[in-house]
Symmetry: C2
Subunit: 286 residues, 2 copies
Amino acid sequence: MNVFIVGIGLIGGSMARDIRRIHPDVRIMGIDNNAAHLEEAMSLKLVDEIAEYSDLARADIVIVGVPVDAVVAEIPKILDQINDDTVVIDAGSTKALICQTISDHPRRRNFLACHPISGTEFSGPTAAIDGLFEGKTNIICEVEKTAFKLQEKALELFREMGMRIRYMNPEAHDKHIAYVSHLSHISSFMLGKTVIEKEKNERDIFDMAGSGFESTVRLAKSSPDMWTPIFEQNKVNVIETLEEYIQNLEAFKKKLLTDDYEGIYNEMNNTNKIKEILKGIPLNKQ
Amino acid sequence: MNVFIVGIGLIGGSMARDIRRIHPDVRIMGIDNNAAHLEEAMSLKLVDEIAEYSDLARADIVIVGVPVDAVVAEIPKILDQINDDTVVIDAGSTKALICQTISDHPRRRNFLACHPISGTEFSGPTAAIDGLFEGKTNIICEVEKTAFKLQEKALELFREMGMRIRYMNPEAHDKHIAYVSHLSHISSFMLGKTVIEKEKNERDIFDMAGSGFESTVRLAKSSPDMWTPIFEQNKVNVIETLEEYIQNLEAFKKKLLTDDYEGIYNEMNNTNKIKEILKGIPLNKQ
């Protein structure tokens, strides 16, 4: 089996690790416009060869793990190069624009639009880890537009990696993921910014920070290269989530200003039900 | 040595565990207005005896681990009962009001105002864990107002628990802790609320949530009994942090609305320096 990984970072590299473990006889080819990443991927044995788009005709599976602006730009070019039996899988955090972009491509049936809900705040080939996808949800959009035999090939691989599959249309995906993922990143980045701005001349103050602060700002370590195009592509939904979040913060502030501590207690008590909800979320192994 | 723990929850119970490990011959007495917690604390062997305020004359050390409204109400009563060589230590997340409240108490010199930056999102005696304070910062306020021999007794205990000590005045403590702790809790509670409200009829949506969401809403599991009085006592500082946070969120939203993706990239890139800052924060052992 020949697997091509386009973008050999956290997601592409972790897929490479899993595939090599599951299929020891696989041949993995890496394509990346970052030469340093390719070298790292070779020395980490994530890939066996460095390749180019002109080699894609040899691919059984192509996994595209690049920022979502590059997904939109590159998938049509990749589809142009593959053979009829190749399945091309992406892993982007937005789905509507990519599905629109390739809707009329002659090889639309060779593409499966995916979003594995997995990752860490780190990036690049050195961030790739074993078993990243075990127990995680993989959202697949417009599954009916992919050739049945190619769906099967991809689903078999996902099953071997231990992923749970959910089917959704691209618009619903982008709307809901704005709430459960994109908004978290903004809240975390802006929390980090607020504290850094305030405490910039008082580095000692971070001695006062504990694991609670660490947890809420963890996502502020994330890559701007990855996240800027996500916010751009999902602008409308993200703005909606931000407006509701800001409204809730304003309402909380108003309760403080008017000494409505019963209201504040109730807000927190009602939100405590997140405990039950979180129990269902598969987390990264520590 | 006789140690009294007033409020045998996460903090009081974890202190009891450490003290018993360090001083196997200690006698630990528990005082709590929650009878179920006292029973749990007995069966978990956190405490050797259930006690009352009238027993406090026997205490060498009194550790007060109750919500900050109860700290303010109870410390004067506790000071009324102790003997001259007893040191009373609190662990509240606010320091100004308690220091003001007992400033004229005849036994002010028996009190040491402390805030160990440690904890989890859980509460009650069953949440108590070993080594919670190892490597954590303990902020001590108005140290000069505590009798020197009693400071020494408390500091020896903190040293044995592995805590790092920082001295600060109560007003500075409350101002800075609003940024690095209290604001994180509000951002997390309101993030949880925003998502629960939106997705209340679509529980499946939480299948889309990953470890990033879990991390940013973790603090929304925290106890309203503990946090309502913290926000009340630190109202002025907390409102200031909330206003700055909301301003930053509004500015981010404006950048999205005006398609200023270079600005969004720069915001995230600048905030990435949180990586370096977080390296210095001692975290709970997993």
